[in-house]
Symmetry: C2
């Protein structure tokens, strides 16, 4: 039996398709696809979840009193729904070219009007779009492989770069722009050039984006709803940036690129919201690495093919902060326990920050403690961070004996905790949203000032 | 440690890339990719097989004395190697367009020479190629889902049609030809037209090809090596047909289409041969439905994008025969036991045809037998088939009491059995090869006569 919310979504989708005269008709269609994606994902997850448990794809939720067994890798369901939506979207994306061409053989030769070459069927866009879906589908395949076989960290870190290969190759073949803008104050060192061609370095940069984006989603995780929640927030921020171009830009290239970005992001938000419903506290499903990789790759693809891969880094600031903040533990400068998730207290049902202990009790002589493993310079840095309220430090006998595990989640708990899991997730999402929207503003104010112009306003 | 055969393959691949002046240089590169694919698959299968067993993807080989447990779904390894090979092949496929263009922005605008529009970057080909890989990758995803979740027959029968959606959509957008040739003797009924446009029926036909081809590979299976063996033979037959065009055709369109087909088939043969090595009697791995679907879809894609989807049916004759021959059991006209695999005799280690029993012993009164379940007209047909040596019939008290299970495998055993499993597979592969090569000859002799011309010779 379809639920009322599902019927409402489908009705709204149908309405959106009716406004044929709107200048943003294709965005209406894309939004309709998002709604359909929501309904389909919402309907499939409860049906397919038992199958995942049956074949052994499940995990225990350690932050609940009864540590329930719930299905894992449900991100794969969402990803497959998304991919098939994107297939069906192809004719709508090229609607205006289809209804006016004859439909036999090479459409390139058929001009819609005599006006300009822009009326030719945009094969470049089609190739870009197909390579984007191909890249996402490869990421899903590798993500499922990871969830199935539990690939080691040092190996799986590079998986996204493999999945990005089709994207980079098509970028190379079809677009090939490898120049970057030079900030105004650096131009005297580059013969006053506004841009400089960095060649193959640009491909390395794009591959790094493809590696960083999925992994950064993956490490800001560990509580119900956060993987999906942060992805929805990030998509919303990117869409806000797209809207700046879609509703005001005078530059057709930038308009097309951001339209492309919106086409990929709207259905992503749709399917993700359905998953969020099931992954929200108390979670009935886990999303799996498949989802983190998939979501991260959506952002990387949007950034690369929307030609704002540098701006993307600005929007990924919270994830970058989390990565930099985690780095001392990831690289072994500060002791890193097996898990860095916040600590669940079964008595009050709240989450508390978890701590890394610097001085472990010697197991053989339980009365003695081994000396602190943190060197003096590190201790100084930790104390400065503590002063800045970026760290909670524990003392034993006047010496640093531990600090909270270095993740954004624990930091928020240090600031506002203890919190129930869903409030913690909501606080984090709010923080990400504020930082993201601030980034959009910075992009079009400070960015315009640093580079001397903003592609939002200037026709260059 | 790399094996000698692997080093030899890589050396040969390197040599093939050296003949830059050859008019068939791109085919050399494709063959080199096939060799690399062989080496990579050959190296990966033994490394990854234990992982598949560990996560529960395994099956028992019932045609061996000790029914060993061996890994299942190894086709997924091959498929992923193939897909990544195809990604890396993209720049080589468009090599001549890349080395002569400037490499910034829209290459469409850059003419290599002033001669003709054919020198433009072939975005149509790129879109076709990407949609082909997308379709294959979707099939792999659905195949893995089937192997994991064991989807029901009536559901999984249509999975290939879902995977073919990107292919059909891109065909619609980019090529859109939906007319079929009319045989000479039928032309008077069509106003003497040489071709007739069948519109959307053509898309239904292509979807049917996409459904039939993978499923037909899937039902001609059950003994070690046969799934891969028949695919390799079929690919060889298709390549033989391609060679007719590549080394003699005067028609650039046909040449391009068959070059495209060869690009997809050569690496497929490479990776499949490596899998055959491990799947050959006594099998160390099972290929899984993933492989059958994937291989069948390779043929469907090649047929559709190579624009010979009707000819493809001719090459699939042995599979069609197997399907038609099986139909009475599949549709319940003749009793169908749970498994129709040939019977393994542990005493002599040979395979014997398996039989369907028409009159089962009544379990309650073990002395009586229930009357035959086969009606009189069916019995007559069975007797005619038996006369034609297409069936082995068993009699009890002068009445038909059973016949061999209706599969090509059992039929070959009726003709030549009993046989050891590897010889049975070799016989079947030989039969398929002879029938396939005969089809190629028929295509270019009888076909040319029926349609009045052959696109191999005539420029039309």
């Amino acid at each position: 039996m379809p639920k009322l919310s599902q019927i409402a979504c489908l009705g709204l989708a149908a309405c959106l398709c009716l406004f044929r005269d709107s200048p943003h008709h294709s965005l209406h269609i894309s939004t309709a696809f998002a709604l359909v994606g929501y309904v389909v994902t919402d309907a499939l997850i409860p049906v397919l979840s038992p199958l995942f448990i049956k074949v052994g794809l499940h995990g225990k939720d350690l932050s609940k009193r009864d540590t329930p067994l719930i299905p894992e890798t449900i991100g794969a369901v969402l990803a497959i729904v998304y991919l098939f939506l994107m297939f069906f979207f192809i004719p709508f994306m090229f609607y205006k070219f289809l209804v006016t061409t004859s439909g036999s053989g090479t459409r390139d030769a058929v001009r819609v009007s005599a006006s300009a070459a822009t009326d030719l069927f945009p094969h470049v866009r089609l190739a870009e779009y197909l390579s984007a879906i191909l890249c996402l589908e490869s990421m899903v395949l590798l993500g499922i492989a990871d969830d199935l076989f539990d690939i080691r960290w040092r190996n799986k870190f590079f998986l996204p770069a493999i999945a990005a290969i089709p994207l980079l190759i098509v970028y190379y073949i079809d677009f090939g722009v490898t120049s970057i803008l030079v900030p105004k104050f650096l131009r005297p060192y580059f013969d006053n050039a506004t841009s400089v061609d960095v060649g193959w370095v640009y491909y390395v940069y794009m591959a790094s984006i493809a590696i960083f984006s999925p992994n950064s989603i993956n490490i800001l995780a560990g509580i119900n709803g956060l993987e999906v929640g942060q992805s929805v927030v990030l998509a919303a921020v990117l869409l806000a940036n797209d809207c700046c171009y879609l509703f005001s830009s005078q530059k057709p290239n930038a308009y097309d690129a951001h339209l492309f970005s919106a086409y990929l992001l709207l259905p992503f938000v749709g399917v993700s919201l359905a998953l969020l419903k099931y992954n929200w506290f108390p979670a009935r499903v886990f999303v799996g690495d498949t989802y983190c990789y998939f979501a991260g790759m959506v952002f990387a693809v949007v950034g690369i093919l929307g030609h704002f891969s540098k701006t993307l880094l600005l929007f990924l600031m919270p994830q970058i902060f989390n990565f930099v903040y985690s780095a001392p533990q990831l690289f072994g400068i500060v002791p890193c326990p097996r898990h860095r998730m916040p600590k669940f207290n079964p008595d009050d049902g709240l989450m508390y920050p978890s701590y890394a202990e610097f001085a472990k009790a010697d197991l053989k002589n339980s009365s003695k403690t081994v000396p602190s493993v943190v060197s003096r310079p590190v201790a100084v840095v930790l104390l400065i961070l503590a002063k800045l309220r970026l760290l909670d430090v524990k003392y034993t006998d006047g010496k640093i004996s531990g600090c909270n595990n270095l993740t954004l989640i624990n930091l928020v708990l240090v600031w506002c905790g203890p919190l129930r899991e869903d409030r913690l997730c909501a606080y984090l999402m709010g923080l990400l949203l504020v930082m993201g929207l601030a980034s959009v503003v910075i992009r079009h104010t400070v960015g315009a000032w640093v580079f001397g112009f903003d592609n939002l306003w200037v026709n260059n």
